[in-house]
């Protein structure tokens, strides 16, 4: 909320500095996001009296002697066409700061410091200034818009600082208003808070006016949708003379960023800022049927707004109509057909309360925002609706631009602007705060906030003004008390009356953290990616049309198509992360992520989807292989005290022969493999990438498995190295399985070498294993181990035609 200090001072005597006021506002809940002097960039500019002014031959320039009072008399060269001897103009002294302008003398191009200069051989000690150079527009100071020197009044004191006379010493507060205080979305609303916090009297804006006997016979106002428009008031103004607003009004509007248009329109804008009530003025001559009707639009109905755009409406939008046609899009923008023109001679003012939700939705749906819609979205109170109409009629009289008729229509669905009585327990207020605020302080604070408090025993009774719709319970009262009493009075305590609770992570949370730390220990870095991804990611993974991953939940209003689907796999984000790294020159590394995938039971959603935590690992670089990734899988198994088995599998985005399904006790828990070459190429990967994804929801059934201690063997273990020659298509896993089956004493089998070459047949390979035999009840003899080996070889021979390498 942009609030000029000068405007605030109309309602409150402010005797503190702008910085002190900022501090006060901050402490009572109004953060000043920006505080600056209007003329913050202007310094050392004084009133100068031009004593002599001589043309410099063959140029448009003049050389002047300028009396700057106490600062001295200076020779200054000037190119403006309105410089003249005897005139008073702003002089930027040497060392002054003013705005630099482009060649058009209108466009500001930053701030400049004035130095001594020389033009056409004439020395110049300063600069005579235009309005633009001082940041003063025509609306802020009459005459300042002239493309030449800003002419100061004849009685301006020579040598005096120009800032006060141009209003450049004013201050602007940009105040953040929280959503619970729509009543402070106006300068007068802020003034109420300022008066309370400074403990000063609040001066009301003048609301008086005199009605003439003029009226509109039979004029009717009706509201068909009271749910969207709880209050609608209209007042007829005759003898309207459209013209310019007075300088004071134009200046105030300029300070809050509004251009003056014409007196009647300016009055509505002024009241929007002053009281926070959007108003609208219809040219009465354009209204047909002697009526105003507020109703929902029909589907497909059209209106052309003030900005000459045609909008197509739905039943969700609200229209103000005359007896025949729509004349305004309620709360958002007036219709082109009823706008105020120079020829307007009679006006119908509207001051209404529209449901904020309706205005917000209309504004968003149609992409049409205005100061009015922005204000309505935050919520307008009854109090302002009534006050604003009175203020508008007062200003019509004050500006002498019309006569106030006696035709006033007010459609009210039963809301009152009278204060509501609210009684709360003082004890409850204090118990909420945890301190005891003395009753006299409570009374003082509530009085300052215009709640007219009375205390009877434990009961505090307030008369809550209609604009304070947020005040409902003792908690609201507690907040009012403490924000004015001061949060520094809160004494730190540590839940003396609370019961002891035992906190901490649960098993799932602990296990996920253990997994993360285990992955860090193998050199992987944790990543966090967005929970949404792109439809193109599904294509990247070459997923078929009927893939379960394609049944992803879509955002209704995504930021972009790239972030429009809820993830059904973490693999795509990981591949993209690796691609980004490779683009930046990181050609090797290990990354992992634990995040949710979102599997809907049906689309569109009618119940919570299955949110499943997954683990995704991505490793890349020349050193990585299927087996380094398998090592990471084994690390995960070890961390969870489980063992994994692996089976060949294929999917659409991994290498057909370097991909494994991971099973834990026979249950599928995930997959890993080498990224398919076409995808690696598409992502411009320069080194091989391997990706793993595991379903932590399934794995969680093994969380918390405790290690079981096996007593150390009483008798010595025996080891045998066996080199087995088999045909090339037999896998290590097959051999291991048969060996384990063949002898119950085997406790470990480790492959340590594979040989293919001249020493054995061309279609064969030799696989060398170390087999560990652990005795149970009695020690082995040399013969017993030889017996085991024989048995193993026999089984291998039977199953695979395997032989011991000679």
């Amino acid at each position: 909320m942009i609030t000029p200090l000068s405007w605030l001072k109309e309602y409150v005597d402010i005797d503190v500095t702008p910085q002190e006021l900022e501090e006060k506002l901050f402490s009572c809940g109004f953060e000043v996001e920006e505080l600056y002097e209007v003329g913050k960039d202007i310094s050392k500019v004084v009133v100068g009296h031009v004593l002599t002014c001589e043309a410099i031959p063959d140029t448009h320039l003049h050389v002047c002697q300028v009396d700057c009072g106490e600062h001295g008399t200076f020779q200054i060269c000037c190119g403006a066409d309105n410089v003249c001897a005897g005139g008073k103009f702003p002089v930027a002294l040497v060392g002054a700061t003013v705005y630099a302008t482009a060649k058009d003398h209108k466009t500001v191009e930053g701030v400049m410091t004035i130095g001594k200069g020389k033009l056409r051989g004439y020395e110049s000690f300063g600069m005579l200034c235009s309005g633009v150079e001082l940041g003063v527009s025509e609306n802020m100071y009459p005459g300042a818009g002239y493309n030449g020197l800003l002419v100061l009044p004849e009685d301006a004191q020579i040598g005096a600082d120009v800032k006060p006379m141009l209003g450049l010493d004013d201050w602007i507060f940009d105040i953040a208003i929280t959503a619970n205080r729509p009543d402070c979305q106006s300068i007068f609303g802020i003034a109420r808070e300022v008066a309370a916090v400074l403990e000063k009297e609040l001066k009301y804006p003048a609301l008086d006016y005199t009605e003439t006997e003029a009226t509109l016979e039979g004029f009717k106002v009706s509201v068909d949708c009271p749910d969207l428009c709880p209050r609608y008031s209209a007042h007829y103004v005759t003898d309207v003379k459209i013209g310019e607003s007075p300088a004071w009004m134009k200046r105030r509007l300029a300070l809050v960023g509004i251009d003056a248009i014409s007196n009647v329109v300016d009055i509505t804008n002024y009241i929007l800022k002053e009281l926070g009530q959007p108003m609208h003025a219809f040219d009465l001559s354009t209204l047909e049927g002697n009526a105003i009707n507020v109703r929902r639009a029909k589907d497909g109905e059209k209106i052309v707004t003030l900005d000459e755009q045609e909008l197509t409406l739905t039943e969700a939008n609200m229209l103000i109509c005359d007896g025949v046609k729509p004349v305004a899009l309620a709360g958002v923008m007036g219709g082109l057909n009823s706008e105020i023109r120079e020829t307007t001679s009679a006006v119908l003012f509207e001051s209404a309360k529209f449901a904020r939700d309706n205005i917000r939705r209309t504004s968003r749906a149609l992409g049409k925002r205005s100061d009015s819609s922005a204000r309505y979205e935050k919520g307008v109170d009854e109090y302002a609706t009534v006050m604003a109409m009175k203020r508008a009629l007062h200003l019509i009289e004050e500006l002498e631009c019309g006569k106030v008729s006696c035709m006033h229509v007010d459609v009210n669905t039963g809301n009152s602007v009278e204060p509501r009585e609210l009684t709360v327990s003082i004890d409850k207020v204090n118990k909420c705060l945890g301190i005891v605020v003395p009753n006299e302080d409570i009374l003082r604070i509530m009085k300052n906030l215009a709640f007219e408090p009375t205390i009877d025993g434990d009961n505090l009774t307030l008369q809550v003004p209609a604009y304070r719709e947020d005040m409902e319970t003792y908690q609201d009262v507690a907040e009012e008390v403490i924000r004015m009493y001061g949060y520094e009075h809160v004494v730190p305590a540590f839940m003396p009356s609370a019961q002891v609770t035992i906190g901490g992570l649960n098993l799932t949370q602990k296990s996920e953290l253990r997994l993360k730390k285990a992955l860090c220990s193998v050199g992987a870095y944790e990543c966090i990616h967005y929970s949404f991804f792109s439809p193109s990611d599904l294509d990247l993974l070459r997923l078929p049309e009927d893939a379960v991953e394609r049944k992803a939940i879509r955002l209704v209003n995504p930021i972009s198509e790239e972030l429009s689907l809820m993830r059904t796999t973490l693999a795509a984000s990981m591949i993209n992360a690796v691609a980004r790294n490779q683009k930046k020159g990181n050609l090797e590394g290990r990354l992992f992520e634990i995040g949710n995938v979102f599997m809907p039971y049906e689309l569109p959603l009618t119940q919570y989807p299955d949110e499943k935590p997954r683990l995704c690992v991505g490793i890349f670089g020349e050193k990585e292989s299927f087996y380094t990734m398998k090592g990471i899988a084994e690390k995960i198994a070890d961390t969870l005290q489980v063992s994994f088995t692996y089976e060949n599998m294929s999917n659409t985005f991994l290498h057909p022969y370097q991909t494994a399904k991971v099973l834990c006790e026979g249950v599928e828990v995930g997959y890993f493999g080498k990224l398919a070459y076409d995808i690696a190429d598409e992502c411009d990967l320069r080194t091989p990438m391997f990706v793993m994804e595991m379903d932590l929801k399934i794995l969680s059934q093994w969380y918390g498995k405790k290690p079981v201690f096996t007593p150390l063997p009483k008798f010595a273990e025996e080891k045998r190295d066996l080199a087995i020659v088999v045909s090339k298509d037999i896998t290590c896993g097959q051999l291991e399985a048969v060996m384990k089956d063949a002898c119950k004493y085997i406790t470990n089998i480790t492959l340590f070498d594979i040989y293919e070459g001249e020493q054995i047949a061309a279609d064969k390979k030799s696989m060398a294993f170390t087999v560990v035999f652990t005795p149970k009840d009695e020690a082995f003899t040399a013969e017993s181990v030889d017996g085991f080996v024989k048995k193993i070889l026999k089984q291998l021979g039977k199953n695979f035609g395997a032989e011991l390498r000679s």
Partner: protein, 341 residues
């Protein structure tokens, strides 16, 4: 002195000159002192050929020679070994500025680091950790939190919708309702998790991480909130850190406060980090609005509570001096490797 003994002594002295390694010293020593087989040992065998009256002197002479030889060659052995050790070290001279060879240890993401740190602090204060769902209903995210359909607070957050009913939670507070519906006080929970708002710039990401705390029990007041925050900021930002409450607004708390802590960079004197104010905004908090308690079936006459919400990214960015929130989600190894905490 037997001339023979003297000759052996000279032979040892002369021979020692030629020795180049401790191995040679060993071999040389063996030649003279290998028990009875060495040259000196053999001298003792000569005893029988020595006239009896000279035998005592002879024996003494041989023993003296043996002692001397042991000492002389022992000393030589020590010197030689020292020399050899030195030479071995010299031979293994390396360039210590060559790159280190180590197995790389990865690291947790900065958001997880901060999250874990906060969890540690609050676990110690008796908070359980509850992670709710990312996809929520309008009811749990807004309505139950005292933010009905047309409430202006809904404008504060741009919500991603999945259907008219389902949305991506905009705040972890949503999870608290689930907890309060299932559990009667005492409640002390901390809800960390991903939340989503339709915002995208240098300080806003459409997904970010919040950590919401909730305490509901008998007699909980604003003073307890202040007390807990004091402990929290001291643990995370250092002993001398102070807190300041100032009024704010959240639909689910009343009174609501913004909490600032004294700037941990400058200690409160004003610097670039705190924009000269001496204070840094760290979280929003307040006394739980009774309407929220009642919505969950908790009797607000008996129980009261406080709640607070911390932005994890903001805390991480402040802590590590990260200037763009996007860096936290890009998984750039050059960034991740730096933030090893």
């Amino acid at each position: 002195m037997n001339a023979n003994l003297e000759q052996i002594k000279q032979e040892i002295i002369a021979g020692a000159e030629e020795l180049a390694s401790s191995r040679e010293v060993y071999e040389f020593k063996k030649k003279f002192l290998d028990g009875k087989a060495g040259k000196i040992g053999l001298l003792m065998k000569e005893m029988k050929n020595i006239p009896p009256e000279q035998r005592a002197d002879y024996g003494k002479g041989v023993n003296e020679l043996k002692e001397w030889a042991l000492g002389f060659l022992g000393e030589l052995d020590v010197k030689m070994k020292e020399k050899e050790l030195q030479a071995r070290y010299e031979a293994e001279k390396i360039d210590i500025s060559l790159p280190a060879a180590c197995s790389e240890e990865g690291n947790l993401q900065p958001i997880t680091l901060v999250r874990n740190q906060l969890i540690d602090i609050f676990s110690g204060m008796g908070f359980e950790i509850y992670e709710g769902a990312e996809i929520e209903t309008d009811y749990y995210n807004f309505t139950a939190l005292n933010t009905p359909q047309d409430h202006p607070a809904r404008d504060m957050q741009d919500t991603f919708y999945l259907s008219p009913e389902f949305l991506l939670r905009t705040q972890t507070s949503a999870g608290q309702i689930h907890v309060m519906e299932k559990q009667q006080p005492p409640i002390k929970i901390l809800s960390p998790g991903k939340v989503f708002r339709s915002d995208d710039d240098a300080t806003h990401s459409p997904m970010f991480t919040q950590m919401e705390g909730l305490v509901v029990d008998k007699g909980i007041t604003l003073c307890d909130l202040q007390g807990m925050l004091d402990v929290f900021v001291k643990k995370i930002y250092g002993e001398g850190t102070k807190t300041r409450l100032r009024p704010s607004y959240f639909p689910f708390t009343e009174p609501s406060v913004e909490v600032d802590c004294s700037c941990f960079e400058c200690g409160g004197s004003g610097c670039k980090l705190c924009k000269g104010t001496g204070w840094i905004e760290i979280l929003g908090a307040g006394v739980v609005n009774n309407k929220v308690l009642e919505n969950c079936g908790i009797d607000s006459n008996e129980y009261s509570g406080f709640a607070f919400g911390i932005g994890i990214e903001r805390t991480a960015m402040l802590k590590y001096g990260i200037n763009n929130i996007k860096l936290l989600f890009e998984s750039d190894l050059r960034v991740l490797k730096q933030l090893n905490d």
